[in-house]
């Protein structure tokens, strides 16, 4: 059993809905260990994205504890949270969210520039080469395909060697063939870089790729 990187204890997340509070996540307990692949399946609107946002520190929670690399982030300042997002966690969005004013290479380097300063370009060529994107390095996001954008987003997420990579419905916009390629890509990242991967999906095929598979149902997580 690998070392625990992220652990949630009794997490509760709710939203204000008029005068009432709508609980979307209730008593979430999960341990994300190093070098692991975790999949979370659930129906649309079950709260998968919210769960990923909360576990990755992008969103706040109401109750419970979230420990990332031994630190309970409950009372972390905005600056400390930014540091966690930059160095310990990588996030891949369904819609990629690449920066349109920067080329592929700059998009990938952005997390490194945020932490180490503009101009540092360590590792980027190796990654671009390894993922077959070297020819695209000077192209802008509007000049590349959806699959290529996805790979650029993945490289941006892993450039700072995060311990955990979160992917929110990464295959949502891809066809079957590209979805399979994506699974291979995640497996190779997990194998080559030792990065744990947590992904949400409603595709049963992808949901079975993990070492640990969960289902989000009735606001809470169940191991499958």
């Amino acid at each position: 059993m690998g070392k625990i990187i992220i652990e949630s204890k009794g997490l509760v997340k709710s939203y204000q809905n008029g005068k009432n509070r709508l609980i979307v996540l209730d008593n979430i307990n999960i341990k994300i260990r190093e070098n692991n692949i975790i999949t979370i399946i659930g129906e649309s609107g079950s709260g998968k994205s919210t769960l990923l946002n909360v576990l990755s520190s992008l969103d706040v929670f109401d109750k419970g504890d979230l420990v990332i690399e031994g630190n309970n982030i409950k009372n972390f300042s905005e600056q400390q949270l930014s540091l966690v997002r930059n160095s310990s966690i990588g996030f891949i969005f369904q819609f990629h969210h690449l920066l349109p004013d920067f080329n592929v290479r700059e998009n990938i380097l952005m997390p490194t520039w945020i932490s180490k300063g503009y101009g540092i370009d360590e590792k980027v060529d190796e990654l671009l080469d390894g993922f077959g994107l070297i020819k695209l390095s000077h192209k802008y996001p509007n000049e590349i395909s959806g699959g290529e954008k996805q790979r650029v987003a993945i490289l941006r997420a892993i450039i700072n060697n995060p311990k955990v990579l979160f992917a929110d419905e990464p295959s949502g916009n891809l066809d079957e063939k590209n979805s399979l390629k994506l699974i291979d890509l995640f497996e190779s990242i997990n194998r080559d870089y030792g990065t744990s991967i947590v992904l949400t999906t409603h595709n049963p095929h992808i949901a079975n790729m993990g070492n640990e598979n969960y289902e989000l149902k009735s606001k809470t997580l169940f191991k499958r």
Binding site: L58, S82, Y118
Partner: protein, 391 residues
């Protein structure tokens, strides 16, 4: 290059037509404000310099009081920056012609120094030391012209036991028009020849007028002179003598900087709306940057840099146009003044590095504050909300 500056630059380079238009308006606003500030300071400097030049031509830059005419000037002459020295004696007196008379101040000088030291605009011929030089206003008031005979007398100097004031008959050799304060209505220049005839009372000693080459060294020269002549002889500059006038000019200068800075403040409101527009367009990208680890301080810096880029374009253009206008005015003298009112024919304009620095500091302060205010609104927004905004 700084990451914040780099991102700000990229964000600005991709703004749409509306953003470009509002940026242009902001740039023009800042440009006009800084241009007005440079021009206004330069005109006030110009008038101050002209005043300095005119008053120093009349009284010298410094005056050493109560110095014996036989005082050895060798040591004073050795002070760097001193270009000329002239003894003068001022005393109240009366000038009268056949029909009227007037109270004036006689200034007894060596007429040989009239051109070299005093250099006052005048008409007439003063080669004859037995003639006098009067102010244009005195001449008008008493209806005097060059060549007219007048009697000058000094009530403080009695020539006999009967108490009659010492008097001398003389002719008007010249009329000066300095247009400084009330000098043309107050002063009558007399030569040492005439002065020796009417001034018998030696209770007040002459002063030594000092002219220097570099006005910025005024205080330093004054200190050196004080060390030489001793504290018994009071040394003061024309600025100290005209302290009220000088402080009024300084106050006017400060007032101009404050009032004209308001143009920049107004222009900054336009910058705030431009920055809000640009940031709104880039809100998703800022959200993305936050999600990949950029903190709020960094986001604030990006927005401030955007403001600085827009503002500095206006600022440097304004300063450039300002300096260019000063250069053109000083070389081609295209703005003229009615000399009968201003005592100068062209608008004087002078700008120093320190003034430019003041303009830059004032502008940069306002522009940076604008950026900080513009950023405030967006810093409260949750990064996930920023992404959803566009979704």
């Amino acid at each position: 290059m700084n990451i914040h500056f780099y991102i700000a630059k990229r964000f600005l380079s991709s703004i749409n037509e509306t953003g470009k238009f509002t940026s242009l308006i902001s740039i023009i606003g800042i440009c006009i404000g800084s241009f007005a500030l440079v021009i206004s300071i330069s005109v006030l400097n110009g008038f101050e310099n002209k005043l300095d030049e005119k008053i120093s031509n009349f009284d010298g830059h410094l005056k050493i009081l109560d110095l014996n005419q036989n005082y050895d000037l060798t040591e004073l002459k050795s002070i760097e920056s001193i270009i000329d020295l002239s003894f003068s004696l001022q005393r109240k007196g009366i000038i009268k012609n056949n029909s009227s008379e007037s109270l004036v101040t006689f200034k007894q000088i060596d007429f040989d120094k009239l051109k070299s030291f005093y250099n006052i605009p005048l008409v007439g011929d003063l080669s004859d030391g037995n003639k006098i030089l009067i102010g244009n206003d005195i001449a008008s008031r008493l209806g005097l012209a060059i060549g007219d005979e007048v009697i000058i007398s000094s009530p403080l100097d009695q020539s006999s036991i009967l108490g009659f004031p010492s008097a001398a008959k003389t002719h008007i050799g010249g009329i000066f028009y300095s247009k400084i304060l009330d000098y043309d209505n107050k002063f009558v220049f007399i030569s040492n020849t005439i002065g020796n005839k009417i001034f018998h009372n030696n209770s007040n000693l002459p002063s030594l007028d000092v002219k220097i080459s570099d006005v910025s060294k005024l205080e330093m020269v004054k200190e050196k002179i004080t060390n030489i002549v001793g504290k018994g002889n009071k040394v003061f500059s024309w600025k100290e003598k005209n302290a009220v006038l000088v402080s009024a000019i300084e106050m006017e200068k400060l007032g101009s900087i404050i009032v004209l800075s308001l143009i920049i403040v107004v222009a900054c409101f336009s910058v705030i709306s431009t920055i809000s527009l640009i940031t709104m367009k880039k809100i998703k990208d800022i959200g993305t940057l936050r999600l990949i680890g950029m903190n709020l301080i960094d986001v604030k810096k990006i927005i401030i840099f955007q403001t600085m880029i827009i503002g500095s374009k206006g600022l440097f253009l304004g300063v450039f146009f300002g300096i260019s206008s000063i250069f053109l005015q000083n070389h081609y003298e295209f703005i003229t003044l009615p000399s009968e009112i201003y005592a100068m024919e062209v608008l004087p304009m002078v700008i120093t590095y320190q003034d430019i620095l003041v303009v830059l500091i004032v502008n940069i302060f306002f522009i940076m504050s604008t950026g900080a205010i513009g950023a405030k609104k967006f810093l409260k927004t949750d990064p996930l909300e920023m992404l959803k905004w566009v979704k």
